[in-house]
Amino acid sequence: MLKTLRLSFALRNTYRVNAILYAVKQMPLLGRVIPGTVYQIRGFKIFANVVSVLWEIVSAFLGKYLYFLLMIGGALSLYGLPGEAAGQAFLHMLVFLSLAGMVLNTYMFNPTKDKYYAMILLGMDARGYTLVNFFYAVLKVLAGFALCALLFGLPLGCALWQCLLIPFFVAGLKLLMAAYALRDYERRKRVRNENNPTGPFWVFVALCLAAAYGLPFLDACLPAEASAAFLCAGILLGLLSLRRILTFPDYRLMYKELLAGAPLVTVQMGSEATAKVQREQSLKNISADSSITSGRKGFEYLNELFIRRHRKILWRSAKRIALAELAAAAGCLAAFRFVPEFRAGINELLVTSLPYFVFIMYFLNRGAGFTAALFMNCDHSLLTYPFYKKPGFILKLFQIRLREIVKVNLLPGAVMGAGLALLLFASGGTDSPLDYWILFMSVVSMSIFFSVHYLTLYYLLQPYNAGTELKSGTYKVITMATYLASWAMIQVKLPILLFGLLMIAFCILYCIAACLLVYRFAPKTFRLRM
């Protein structure tokens, strides 16, 4: 067991060190200075090892700390509950969020690259490897949750024993879920990928989230005794689950199936196998409906066929998001009726915190997925033909695609804008009727901005190589900067009128600048990376 643990660490550390060095080498300016032999240079390797070990330690605590801070602390601060009620709500939220987390994150059913390398490529003993690493992950959960539960629970008035039970409860739920999924595999030969939960799991998660955040609104938190019963039950069920986890005989077979089609793993294979699996996955997204045709010509013809044959992947999530937004708006309207304080909270949020929605629109925008589909199923092949690389043709297609990507993102953008304007009205409105229009237009502008942003990045940086791997360090840095800038907008508090006008003006200027840049540079930059 110790040997397996040591080997697992060594393996994980090796690829993590190489990944760090690779990431440094991909940095826009730094990458040019660092030699190609960076993997052989002792100093660089020591630096990457230090970063890797620090990351291992920090990851055990930082993620949990942020989880407690944002998911529980943030929600509690919004509710503004007094002393004892806050402690009760803390335990209540933690119980239901842990139940949701149980189905989304067990470690065992996450098809990560370390498992692929160890069990498939290197042929390590699957059972030994899985058990050692699973229990190591559970230990990290225990350590991280113990610290955070004490840090957050005690000041809220939770008892020490309650705080100490929390990490064992969370670990118990992970054991329970792992055992359940193993049993399911034994019975139905169906392996579970926790990154791709099926419908019933999403319903379960939605119910848990609704219970975690909705019930405290209605002043219906679990009594402290009930929370304690949940904690004890979780621990007991976890202990009972141990037997199945320890005696399950088919880890190797199960992981072969789990790792065979997981996109996260295939991206990491870095070989012909990657291309093959990704290719198979992308081909599945093409509609075989023989009634799909187009009466257009040239690039409009190409575009129409592409959009119609990829309708499922291009439009499905946009439609789902729009539906979820409608449901959320309906939920808020219902809450206005039953909880009058909620009305005032939402009104204040909309009147002063419109910038917050930049961050939300960042997450809802389908620009990155749209450009990935364009590359995988269209440009990857056509960019090898000389006619496709003519400057005039590149720009013509850019115009068409700009129209399409804006259309796809406009659906959730417009629904969000209209929904927020409606909520503003229903929550008490504002003094200026203009605010409703500005609110709607600024959310639509955000949607257009992100659409233009992702397509422009795609045309100016073309981040994929011929093996369909994302290789551009500059692209990664800019997308990360986009995330950070969107996140920073959460802190900005501005009136609707001012922020809305600024947002609309920024969007117009950005679109003009982006189009000019694409017209100037894309004929040179829109190429296959070799």
Partner: protein
């Protein structure tokens, strides 16, 4: 017409893959490009096709009227792994290409398919359902209609079945007039069968192998010897 390469060089991570290459390819010939694994054949093709930036040097076409730089439409690059837009049918792809490309004397689409022995029942199938060989034929068809002055073929017959491979060889022979064809392969007999000239990419430079009075066996020996020298470099 000639395609002239002058002082072309390219380095990767401090290793010079192409070293100051000077070479002239002549119209109407098929050149067999041979080299060890990692010699830089694909790098050379990628540089000529504009997919990789060169470190230095130039390449251009030269004819009776003077010289001119190579434009994208001058070069057709056929990859060993055929790439076709798999969300389209063969007929749709061909129609799209004919829409945007000025063809001198356009023919009905079925005539082009017949030339490549693509059966009528396959012409309206999605390209994702095509076999490797069929995709290769479709890729070649587009390049044939585009009529590039320089056709670069990177191991195009690898992994084709014998029937398709023979069809493609016949096709390449029929296409060689009026253009320059450069064909990279690891199969020496194929190169000797199909190509008019054998060019080695060795130590980062292009070098034509002189056939002069040698018979096939002696010629093969000479090529092998030259390639083995790479080990001693």
């Amino acid at each position: 017409m000639k395609f002239v390469i002058e002082h072309l060089s390219k380095s990767y991570n401090g290793r010079q893959v192409l070293k100051d290459i000077d070479f002239a390819f002549e119209e109407g010939k098929i050149y067999g490009l041979l080299g060890r694994n990692g010699a830089g054949k694909t790098t050379l093709f990628n540089c000529l096709n504009g997919d990789l930036r060169t470190d230095g040097g130039s390449f251009y076409f030269e004819d009776g009227t003077g010289r001119r730089d190579a434009a994208p439409e001058d070069i057709g690059y056929v990859l060993s792994m055929p790439t076709v837009p798999e969300f389209m049918t063969a007929r749709e792809f061909l129609k799209f290409f004919m829409d945007i490309h000025e063809v001198k004397e356009p023919k009905p689409l079925d005539e082009y398919f017949a030339r490549m022995s693509i059966a009528p029942e396959d012409r309206d199938k999605l390209l994702k359902d095509y076999s490797h060989g069929m995709k290769n034929k479709m890729q070649m068809l587009i390049h044939i209609i585009a009529e590039p002055n320089l056709l670069l073929l990177d191991e195009p017959l690898t992994s084709l079945d014998v029937v398709v491979a023979e069809e493609m060889k016949g096709l390449l022979r029929s296409l060689k007039a009026g253009r320059i064809t450069v064909f990279s392969t690891h199969i020496m007999d194929l190169a000797l069968d199909l190509c008019d000239e054998i060019v080695l990419l060795s130590h980062g430079v292009l070098e034509k192998v002189d056939k002069s009075d040698l018979d096939r066996k002696e010629f093969k020996e000479r090529i092998l010897e030259a390639l083995r020298e790479e080990d001693h470099a």
